[in-house]
């Protein structure tokens, strides 16, 4: 009986020690994951800045004209066509949605 009680006490003590050690171990793991998360967050931010810079309208326009030989459409070359026959008078509300088709003419220089 005494032996069992002694073993029980030792077991509880060991469980307590194991729990404390495990908390510290998990703590290290949490910190490691946090560091990893921060690194990934930084990488994501960096990529967002890059995407934003690469999609800047002036860069796209420059690439289109200089690398691809494109030109902006000139007057009359783009015609927006509305599906609705709308000729609202001033002050009237315009239709919410215009289904528009465009005819684009691109010509190399």
């Amino acid at each position: 009986m005494r032996l069992l009680a002694g073993l029980g006490i030792i077991g509880v003590l060991l469980l307590f020690v194991w729990e404390r050690v495990d908390i510290v171990r998990v703590g290290y793991r949490v910190e490691q994951l946090k560091t990893q998360k921060i690194a990934l967050q930084r990488e994501q931010d960096e990529l967002r800045v890059k995407v934003s810079a690469l999609t800047a309208p002036d860069r796209i326009a420059k690439a289109a004209t200089e690398k691809l030989g494109m030109l902006p459409p000139q007057s009359g070359q783009v015609v927006m066509v509305s599906a609705a026959d709308s000729s609202p008078t001033m002050g009237e509300r315009s239709p919410e949605v215009h289904v528009a088709k465009s005819e684009r003419f691109w010509r190399k220089p």
């Binding site: 290290y28 967002r48 800045v49 070359q77 001033m90």
Partner: protein
């Protein structure tokens, strides 16, 4: 027997020693855990815990379609510990190759009698990674938040910029700083014997929240169109600068606010306030004939004039208070409509005289001149509209021509929008909403009517007159193929700072209008400051209006009024061709089938 006694004696000695040992340990325990408990507990906390102040990232700024215009990113700052360096010149050479800084400058820093020196703050992340790979002794990096403006100079005057410590200093960054700023919070970390962080005290403890994000009403594509066309016009006319504003007349939302020249908010060093001031809201100028829009509005609203009222234009020359007023075109009898379309100064002066000082002043104030528009941007000026009691003998005629009055470009855009939308003066705005980190809206801006200076009937009549400015008047170069345009040209002489009198060489050319005239979607103001050569609003600013309008209308999908006619003209080359404008006189008479 003797042996048994000896053994017993040894046990007793052992027991006494053990008891003494336990007693000593117990005594020490009582000393540590009871007598010195409070003091030691504080000391232990100091060694195991570390309190750090952390600031959440500054919020991002987006355009109306969610494109990133400004955001924060953590980047490395490079430091050196001179005492730990064996070969400062070699390290300086390695650093110089990566950081693109002169090696001798770095070496000078590394030879200082200090334990810590900054080599370069907030460098490019790629440079930081290259330095990490080099793994130089005595050189390290720490991460710091840096504000990035990935579009460079685009919209720079509206965006403003943030300082080194992340505080907004100008523009949107300053006006919305309380929202954009990240939360500052102190968190307590547990450290182990080696000083490594184990976890925050209390596992539920969260880091500080990032600042809110701000979404603008500005569209980066329309902003680009406005900036590009403005730059081209400024360059072609060798002008000092210029402004283009694109606004939704029905809401007051600003779609583009372009200025030339611009600056890059990523490289602010050495720039003076003059370069980054948003002159659209801070500077007033004499608008010239664009002000005749509001003179006409007042005259029509007060029924002082009708579109077909006739005015004697004095053959293009009239003297008022000793000053001679000239017209561009000589005429004798003209209608009120023709007076506006031809921008007759003589007829404008006579209209103002019929209207009288008080009524003209009242309408100028009603259209928002002489007061802030209350746009959500810092540093807005009121402009200058003097009280009638301060007016001189010539003032009434001068104001009729847009002189002796100071307006900001934004006031002009807002007032023109009021004519375009049927008479409602709106509050202009550049931010549509503010959202927290979870995307929830915490503040939203909705269109606000400030007042109604004119009725819909007057606005409709004025609209017809202003359409005539483009179809048969001074603004023909503002015509956009396929759309009805209404607007007014303006050419204002500037005061010569040397003489204090109006200069014959310095002027401001402008065009203020809206499109499509029958259901306005865009108000566009184009102002070119000090153009050289032929410096008329109709020749310098009106083409900017046209080019911005035709691209923005296409981008927004606003349907053309005569699509079939235009399509045929574009295909056949008749009337439109590739490049030149459609000439109205040879447009084929084909109408769209409903």
């Amino acid at each position: 027997m003797i042996g048994m006694d000896f053994c017993r004696g040894r046990r007793i000695v052992l027991a006494v020693l053990l008891l003494a040992g336990f007693a000593a340990v117990m005594g020490r325990l009582v000393q540590l855990q009871v007598l010195q408990a409070a003091e030691l507990s504080v000391r232990a906390d100091r060694q195991h815990q570390k309190a750090v102040t952390v600031e959440g990232n500054r919020g991002s700024i987006y355009d109306r379609r969610g494109k990133v215009l400004a955001m924060n990113m953590e980047v490395p700052s490079v430091f050196g510990m001179p005492a730990s360096l064996d070969n400062p010149s070699g390290v300086a050479r390695d650093l110089a190759r990566v950081l693109h800084v002169r090696a001798d400058e770095i070496e000078k820093k590394l030879r200082q009698e200090r334990s810590f020196v900054w080599i370069a703050r907030k460098v490019d992340p790629e440079q930081g990674r290259r330095l990490e790979r080099l793994s130089l002794d005595g050189i390290g990096t720490v991460m710091e938040g840096r504000r990035f403006y990935p579009k460079g100079p685009l919209l720079s005057h509206v965006m403003g910029f943030a300082g080194m410590d992340g505080q907004g200093l100008e523009g949107i960054e300053r006006r919305y700083d309380p929202y954009l700023r990240g939360e500052k919070r102190q968190i307590v970390l547990q450290r182990d014997a080696l000083g490594r962080t184990v976890f925050p005290k209390g596992l539920t403890e969260q880091g500080p929240s990032a600042g809110h994000s701000v979404t603008l009403t500005i569209d980066e594509v329309i902003q680009y169109i406005a900036e590009k066309e403005l730059d081209d016009a400024v360059s072609a006319s060798q002008a000092k600068g210029g402004i283009v504003i694109v606004m939704e007349p029905k809401t007051g939302a600003v779609l583009a606010m372009a200025m030339a020249p611009r600056f890059d908010p990523n490289a602010m060093r050495g720039l003076s306030a003059d370069r980054w001031r948003n002159r659209v809201v801070t500077d007033a100028y004499e608008p010239g004939s664009t002000l005749k829009i509001f003179l006409a509005a007042a005259a029509l609203e007060e029924r002082a004039m009708k579109p077909n009222s006739t005015i004697y234009a004095e053959n293009g020359k009239m003297t008022i208070a000793g000053t001679v007023i000239h017209d561009h075109e000589k005429a004798k009898w003209i209608t009120f409509t023709q007076a506006i379309q031809r921008s007759s100064n003589v007829a404008a002066a006579k209209t103002a005289m019929v209207l009288g000082e008080d009524r003209l002043f009242r309408y100028l104030k009603a259209f928002g001149f002489g007061e802030r528009t209350e746009i959500d941007l810092p540093g807005e000026a009121t402009g200058l509209v003097k009280e009638p009691r301060e007016w001189g003998r010539r003032t009434l005629a001068s104001i009729a021509m847009g002189q002796e009055i100071g307006v900001t470009a934004l006031q002009l855009a807002t007032a023109v929008s009021a004519v375009a939308n049927g008479g409602w003066l709106m509050r202009p705005y550049v931010v549509s909403d503010v959202r927290d980190g979870h995307g929830q809206v915490v503040a939203q801006v909705t269109p606000q009517v400030r007042r109604r200076p004119i009725t819909a009937e007057t606005a409709q009549t004025l609209n017809t007159i202003l359409e005539g400015v483009v179809t048969a008047g001074t603004g023909s170069k503002a015509a956009v193929a396929g759309y009805r345009v209404a607007g007014k040209t303006g050419t204002a002489q500037k005061i010569d700072p040397a003489t204090g009198a109006y200069s014959s060489a310095l002027s401001v050319a402008s065009f203020a209008g809206y499109v499509p005239a029958e259901d306005p979607r865009l108000t566009i103001i184009a102002i070119i400051d000090e153009p050289q050569g032929e410096a008329w609003g109709g020749t310098v600013a009106a083409p900017v209006f046209r080019r911005v309008a035709e691209q923005a209308l296409t981008y927004l999908g606003v349907s053309s009024q005569e699509p079939m006619k235009l399509a045929l003209a574009a295909h056949t080359g008749i009337g439109a061709g590739i490049g030149p404008e459609i000439r109205p006189e040879i447009r084929p008479e084909i109408r769209m089938v409903p």
